[in-house]
């Protein structure tokens, strides 16, 4: 049995990493907003989904105008992801303005904001479904296939205890783009003035305002970045998995949120790590559960496995793996 698990490992790593980086970027959107507002923005998963649909729309438009044939696929992809990122960034800023800021101004309890975010989530799902059905007659959309060149990682040849693994060129694209996003965000938050303002607002909003920081503007910037990253990841998801529907954001959002909790909610690097770990665990479970349980549980139990890990981590380390551990003297 162990030999088989090891044989699978290269493929598990590739699939797990693909899924994991997607979780990681979406998890960042949850963790950033939580860090600043202590709000679990349940609409974030649907911002991710909206990003996928905006990306598909742009892609179809470009296809219709013949750009897809005329331009290198990479350029088309970059245009699609940038447009979708900016559009979802603005969507996030708009959601905050319309739904969360008025509640904050009235000092509404945090629970109200949470319920509101669930409401926004439904609104986005149904709005996207409505538009998609209106335009295409079906709310399940299959994007034009891109980056589908298949590669085989001939690892068996070098290390005979591994099986060969296969992947599409989209895997490399997803990996490259998410790594660029993760690294730039980390640099932005830790090395720039606005990043510092963001951390200050997350730690003490009232005092930050005494430092001439416009807290509402920092919150808008936070929503823009988190949502733009989420939307751009939606485009990656569409390209990697091909088919999208208005409900892909729900379960993926819950899992990304789980990843954020796993890494320690409010901690950006924690969310990155939590996302990748969750993706790997999930794919490991999908590949091996049936093997381990002698067929009693199939791959469909992978989510249970991932959440059991989460529960175990939280029992022994409730603040998450990278939870804040700074001792604050009074």
């Amino acid at each position: 049995m162990l030999a088989q698990i090891i044989q699978n490992l290269p493929q598990v790593l590739i699939d797990g990493l693909t899924l994991g980086v997607v979780y990681a970027v979406v998890a960042i959107g949850y963790t950033m907003v939580y860090g600043i507002l202590e709000l679990i923005n349940f609409a974030h998963g649907d911002v991710f989904m909206t990003g996928a649909f905006i990306g598909a729309t742009v892609l179809f438009l470009m296809l219709g105008m013949g750009f897809l044939a005329a331009m290198p696929a990479l350029i088309v992809f970059l245009i699609v992801i940038v447009v979708a990122g900016i559009a979802t960034g603005l969507l996030g800023v708009g959601i905050e303005r319309v739904a969360y800021r008025p509640l904050r101004r009235k000092n509404a309890p945090k629970l109200i904001a949470l319920i509101t975010s669930i409401g926004i989530s439904f609104v986005l799902e149904d709005a996207v479904r409505f538009i998609a059905e209106l335009k295409t007659g079906n709310y399940i959309v299959t994007a034009p296939s891109m980056f589908n060149h298949k590669f085989t990682l001939d690892i068996h040849h070098i290390m005979p205890f591994f099986d060969n693994a296969t992947f599409q060129s989209s895997f490399l694209l997803v990996l490259a783009v998410t790594i660029v996003m993760l690294v730039s965000l980390d640099l932005f938050v830790n090395k720039t003035k606005w990043g510092m303002a963001m951390r200050a607002v997350a730690q003490d909003r009232d005092t930050a305002s005494l430092m001439t920081i416009n807290v509402n503007r920092v919150i808008s910037v936070t929503f823009f970045i988190g949502s733009a990253l989420g939307g751009a990841t939606g485009v990656l998801f569409m390209i990697q998995y091909g088919t999208i529907d208005p409900y892909i954001g729900f379960i993926l959002g819950i899992k990304a949120f789980t990843a954020a909790v796993l890494g320690g909610i409010g901690n950006i690097r924690g969310a990155m790590f939590g996302g990748i770990m969750l993706g790997l665990l999930e794919m490991f479970a999908a590949a091996n559960l049936s093997l381990i349980t002698h067929g009693a549980m199939g791959a469909e139990y992978k989510d249970v496995f991932a959440f059991i890990i989460l529960i175990l981590v939280l029992i022994f380390k409730p603040e998450g793996l990278f939870g804040k551990a700074v001792v604050e003297k009074v």
Partner: protein, 241 residues
């Protein structure tokens, strides 16, 4: 000739402020002239902090007006008031615990774009608080109470404020540290800084203040020169006993 809008550097004109539904200030009136140290003393819950927060824009008064440097700032949000040059060192210091000492100081100069200006101000803060220089890369939250207070004052100085408001700088600190802090407050004032000092530690505050106000249940009940208030029977009984 028309009379100027404001005679003083800072004028607080009969303000009423509320915390949710509860009235915390009831017609507070005070002024500060340039170069003065003015202290606001009173017991816990009298409305000292609310007065400061009303000036800095963290609490918006329902009635009355606040004029600073000839400008009506009554309705300014906190970041705009701060932008005009009013710095507040909040009660309990409120430094950013997970920012480093350097970042805590840099954020005080958030509105400054010129890096050489920031560097220059940093040096100036170090002349007052040399200890901070040794701790630049430490997280703010890991410092002792006295060091945090120094950092909070240093952070406010990074704004190069025209008016510095200190809320209970002596709170929770050992007497020897309090002594140091008050010496520095005096020194900053000598160099021209206008200061509004809120204190429960009335004796020490009145010693260094030009003038003082005594606040009780949201109202100013006494005002006068520092040394006069110190001799006042009422003040002695209530706050200096």
């Amino acid at each position: 000739m028309t009379e100027p809008i404001a005679k003083h550097f800072l004028e607080v004109n009969k303000i009423d402020s509320y915390y949710s539904q509860i009235q915390a200030l009831n017609g507070i009136e005070l002024y500060i002239d340039q170069g003065e140290i003015v202290t606001l003393i009173g017991s816990n819950g009298a409305g000292k902090s609310t007065t400061l927060k009303s000036i800095s824009g963290q609490v918006r008064p329902k009635k009355g007006s606040i004029i600073f440097d000839g400008r009506d700032i009554t309705k300014f949000p906190a970041h705009q008031t701060a932008g005009l040059g009013i710095a507040q060192v909040p009660e309990g210091r409120r430094i950013f615990p997970r920012l480093t000492v350097r970042e805590n100081l840099q954020i005080g100069a958030f509105s400054v774009k010129d890096k050489s200006v920031i560097a220059h101000r940093l040096e100036r803060v170090f002349t007052y608080f040399p200890r901070l220089k040794e701790r630049l890369n430490q997280k703010g939250g890991t410092m002792s109470g006295g060091e945090q207070q120094m950092l909070a004052i240093g952070r406010a100085l990074m704004m190069k404020p025209k008016l510095l408001m200190l809320d209970e700088p002596s709170m929770g600190l050992a007497p020897i540290i309090v002594e140091q802090i008050f010496d520095i407050i005096k020194e900053m004032n000598k160099e021209g800084m206008t200061i509004l000092l809120v204190e429960q530690n009335a004796f020490q505050a009145l010693q260094i203040a030009d003038r003082g106000y005594v606040i009780q249940t949201g109202q100013i009940v006494l005002e006068g020169k520092g040394d006069e208030l110190m001799k006042n029977e009422q003040v002695r009984e209530a706050y200096l006993a």
